[in-house]
Symmetry: C2
Subunit: 342 residues, 2 copies
């Protein structure tokens, strides 16, 4: 089989998965409506790996779109240290493709016993996690590639649909993301060129601000999993607090800057990087790209939705960079599909 | 001046800074007592760079030691996206050496206007942040080196003293950390040998679980700032979810494993790494080190306190690795002491 064929096929399923999730989002809307009637005071988000980046995205949706303070849970406080926090008025959102990671299942159960309501977002309605309390199935179909792709964008969309209903918004706004995902797939040739550009590096930095920070984190993880490059994600603000010292010609920076407030806040960071003559690659709105710089132009999408489609060219970039390095992203060293951590 | 002389001097001040902070902790105890009388339901922690790792440490103290759910704030939701979350019953803890980072000052003010109480932990009692509401001065004296060292351990201790008082514990337990810090300084020769071992690598992974995850993150940042190595911190659980694919002979792993529940949870990760013949360096309790492996033995300290002294050998490691690479950690590329991000 062609190296990465499995990953490529699942990346390609995203327009259909996203379109059908918007068309048939009864479950997400029911959960959203329930939360609208009985909103929690705080939300804790628990996840690992790729799903942790979906959780990070949800944090922005909750705080910016709904004004509900939220935080990423440290599962180990419950599972390793046996903490008993007071979780009344708290919603714990557990995000997991498989619904089977033992520490997440345990975290969800423990949170429930401490008074929290639990919402599980999984691609596995029959899983242990799905059975804990509220559940939204992301309905992405079986994912066989080790590197999660379609379940990531489907998790983002499911979380968006819940929050959009909760805030009384218009879920049809999400119809745009399937269209954008399809358009990115048609532009795979542009990504191929960028992959050639990055194939020779052993380390790079990925940066963004706001909603797109989740995209930067997920892009970095996808690159690490498939190409073994040390890809390090920083929010634009944190990059300026120290790590920028290591940025130089041999450490390219990939910036994610779709049109919106996040990219406007990132603009001074991009200016600093250009001033330092860093090797900068921008995937972003045309206003944030510079003439002569390698990159990829993102068309304008509502900023809260853009991470759902923006990840597609970055998944392709990871895949194509891996192949350009002679690797098979369907056979990464030592990874299993379901990681069992305690 | 000797390269790194400033950083070395400030690392060396830590036993005195820590001892005097425990001896004279009136301010931290007053704040802790006030929080004990009127506890918040939820804590949000806001910080950048090194101080963000102090915030991460505080999250474990709050959840494990006090059972108060807490989360790391994303300052950009308030400052970039103009969110108005409902922050009644919330304590926002802002941690900043300088107390002057504009986005933190703005976050603190905005949080207050949304109903939160604000506790600022700074090394600058005259700063804007210190004036917002409650304040604890970490009293580390002026820090002139660009790489923060003594203000980090002093921030951890100040946060520990507040939480320990809040939970009705015994603040004298912290007397041990100054003793341990001094002991690490005496063992600088052992660190010199490790630095020689790591000086040739351009990238490495730092890992830990639980309380020590903050130590891993701070060690990675210190290495990046001073040696320009791509040092990437992962919780042991997250490392197994993907990034372990890139671990190999040319990507050493530095594990932080002081005696305690965190290291016991990390043990299976260490076993996996050894199985993969990764180049592993363990700074940890003797039970977690393997014969013939390079490393450094940490004496047993109460686990909730150990991050305060464990960082000292890692600061020395960053300093000595930088010097071994011919760099001057007092003159890192392009960093300023106060980073102004919005």
């Amino acid at each position: 089989m062609t190296p990465g064929a499995l990953m490529r096929a699942e990346i390609g399923e995203q327009p259909a998965v996203l379109a059908s999730a918007v068309a048939d989002c009864k479950e997400a809307r029911e959960v959203g409506a329930l939360l609208r009637r009985r909103p929690p005071r705080f939300v804790l988000l628990a996840a690992r790996g790729t799903s942790d980046h979906a959780a990070l995205y949800a944090k922005y949706l909750l705080e910016v779109g709904l004004g509900v303070p939220s935080g990423l849970a440290s599962p180990s406080t419950l599972t390793v240290y046996d903490a008993h926090p007071d979780l009344r008025d708290v919603l714990l959102v557990a995000v997991s493709q498989s619904g089977g990671s033992p520490d997440l299942v345990e975290t969800a159960r423990r949170a429930q016993s401490c008074g929290a309501r639990v919402l599980a977002v999984t691609n596995a309605p029959g899983s242990e996690l799905a059975a804990v309390d509220l559940h939204v199935d992301v309905n992405a179909g079986p994912e066989r590639a080790v590197a999660a792709t379609k379940t990531y964008s489907a998790e983002l969309l499911a979380l968006w649909l819940v929050v959009e209903t909760w805030r009384g918004g218009d879920v049809r706004r999400a119809e745009a993301v399937a269209v954008e995902a399809a358009q990115h797939l048609e532009r795979a040739g542009e990504i191929e060129a960028l992959a050639g550009h990055l194939a020779g590096t052993d380390r790079l930095v990925v940066t963004a601000r706001g909603y797109s920070y989740a995209t930067a984190r997920e892009a970095a993880l996808k690159l690490m999993e498939t190409t073994y490059v040390s890809a390090h994600a920083f929010s634009g603000a944190d990059l300026m607090h120290g790590p920028i010292a290591m940025v130089s010609r041999d450490l390219p920076v990939l910036a994610i800057a779709p049109a919106g407030a996040g990219a406007r806040a990132l603009a001074p960071v991009l200016a600093s990087l250009r001033e330092r003559a860093a090797e900068l690659v921008v995937l972003g709105g045309s206003a944030f790209r510079a003439a002569g710089e390698p990159g990829y132009t993102l068309r304008e999408v509502d900023e809260d939705l853009s991470p759902i489609s923006d990840i597609v060219p970055l998944q392709l970039l990871a895949l194509k960079t891996a192949v350009a390095r002679g690797l098979d992203p369907d056979r990464p060293g030592g990874l299993r599909k379901v990681t069992r951590t305690w």
